[in-house]
Assembly symmetry: C2
Homo-oligomer: 354 residues x 2
């Protein structure tokens, strides 16, 4: 350790994830002439030839931080991690081709458990037409770590960046939001209940009746390949796109920052499943917080020129218009269901996650 490190210990928490990413980005490095887009979008974009680009993304999932093996069956876990990884390729309007998977395995993980995990990885890989082409297995001391990198392709003129939104574009979101958070709430409650059954040597068997939808959203989320295929089929290109992994408000900030725009959303327009509402009610929590800040839904947030919306809606129904793009000076605003207008403050991005 250099003396500099000994003098100064600034916890990462004090500047946050984005602050750390900004600090890392400031460190100079090589610019390769083939790279079209480096750090700063869902995936990097690298030129292949005149027409085609490579898309590259990677993600690491850590036990105890990103998942809990008590309520995450390994097969589902593999499925979820692969879905989340390929979702970043879809968010660029591309299609994934291949993935590598690195596993760091503590001794509590058996051969059979690795096989279960892999079956889940292959299940999601299959649905997304991705071949697992490599990867490493290594030991870990305590926590299971799963790193996935995905390679995808797109026509260069179809790649969609975070930064492409224009004023008055419609803000659209696929599916519904907050379901993964609702599912997490249920699973955490069941885990707590199970832990209270002290001394009883039984495996965790949560009672999930009536919560299948929400729990499924948490455990086995699907990446939205269907949207990308529809865009391709109809030759539509959204002006910007991002996948929702860190919660709607956070992703909106990413779009707003990247394109130097503002956004205005309608709380009443945010799609929320009935079961998600029931869970929030049962937990005595605000379902809008699930929808605004809950992550992991793997839905796609995209912008379309206003005049294209109706045409697209005739061909693809599983999306909702939740607002529109405004000037940067407007910031990020929401008209609440009661009719008030609130301005989001970037420092106030707490998720309802405990």
């Amino acid at each position: 350790m250099s003396s500099n490190q000994q003098r100064e210990f600034q916890p990462i928490q004090s500047i946050g994830r984005q602050g750390l990413l900004d600090r890392i980005e400031a460190i100079p490095g090589v610019q390769h002439p083939d790279v079209i887009q480096g750090i700063g979008d869902d995936a990097a974009v690298i030129g292949q030839d005149e027409d085609n680009v490579t898309l590259l993304t990677s993600e690491t999932f850590m036990e105890g931080v990103d998942f809990d093996l008590v309520y995450h069956p390994l097969k589902h876990l593999g499925y979820k991690c692969m879905s989340a990884a390929v979702s970043d390729i879809y968010a660029m309007n591309g299609k994934p081709t291949a993935a590598t998977v690195d596993l760091a395995l503590p001794t509590k993980i058996s051969v059979q458990m690795v096989e279960e995990l892999y079956r889940g990885l292959q299940s999601a890989a299959g649905e997304n037409e991705v071949q697992i082409v490599g990867g490493d297995v290594s030991a870990a001391h305590q926590a299971l770590a799963i790193s996935i990198s995905v390679y995808g392709e797109a026509k260069e003129d179809r790649v969609t960046y975070r930064s492409g939104a224009h004023k008055d574009d419609a803000l659209c979101v696929t599916g519904d939001l907050g379901g993964a958070m609702a599912g997490l709430r249920i699973l955490m409650r069941e885990k707590k209940f199970w832990q209270e059954q002290e001394g009883e040597d039984v495996a965790f068997q949560p009672d999930l009746e009536g919560y299948e939808y929400a729990v499924g959203r948490q455990l086995v989320p699907k990446a939205r390949r269907d949207l990308i295929e529809k865009f391709e089929e109809l030759d539509f290109r959204p002006s910007s796109m991002i996948d929702i992994t860190q919660g709607l408000v956070n992703e909106l900030y990413q779009l707003v920052r990247a394109a130097d725009i503002g956004a205005y959303i309608y709380q009443a327009a945010i799609p929320i499943a009935l079961e998600t509402r029931s869970v929030a009610d049962e937990m005595k929590e605000d379902v809008d917080r699930y929808a605004l800040y809950g992550g992991e839904d793997l839905e796609l947030l995209f912008t379309l020129p206003e005049k294209q919306v109706d045409r697209f809606a005739k061909e693809f129904t599983d999306f909702a218009v939740i607002g529109r793009i405004t000037d940067a000076s407007e910031g990020l605003k929401m008209q609440t269901s009661e009719g008030d207008v609130v301005l989001f403050n970037e420092d106030d991005q707490q998720s309802p996650n405990p």
Copy 2:
């Protein structure tokens, strides 16, 4: 967990790393038509167009398993991890273009420490003309984890696989072997000494005088881009190639298995640096074990048709011929410095690593 997992707990140790990889490979998955080589080589090979291919590899480095922060300064650690990751692209006779880096960061890691690590990553990336194009930062409970995936390119007709060696080809290795292991030995001794100074609140300041070469091999190994550039310049293509990260004997097994061949090596021909010998003497250990089983040297092991060796040696001097390729029925044999011939047994691949 399924009832199957509860019945059966087979520790990974019981089948080993290769056994686990074989089990994983047996799980069915999608075959993508663009993939030319999936699991089973240093990097995956994916077709781009008629002439060019993409190379893809990833590796995860775990604290406590792959490195020890007590003696691994973070800047060096970043350098080493990036070198090791790009080395897999060189082992395919390609060149790296871009990399993604995922960091899982425990709270003991400060912002400044991440910056140091990144400076090292960028330093090796710069030497290898690689742009870091993305990556993720996330929390970890205890151990620092670094996952790097590298994207590279090659002309399809220049890609070199593990499986290409033919009978009578010369077995060649760049640089010298066992140095990284010797360096590790020195660092471990210094760590032990330091830990014995109990109660003294001083930073670890190892006395490395006289061991600069070996310690450098352990802490800041260079990937052998120079060999790949020379091959390109002279339009040579080795018949097979692999990088030495798990030790010479292990890599020889990979070549032998992939090409269904045998190999015969001469112990006296294995290049070992003087300082590596001194360290082994000092430790009262067998330097040949360092050279045969010590990993992390990041040298390249390759085969060349016998008649090309002299011509290549006129243009590139930093390699040695250590043996030749034989029939599969011959297995993997070594003529010792004393003139005996030993047959390696794949189950007996202990490294001198404690």
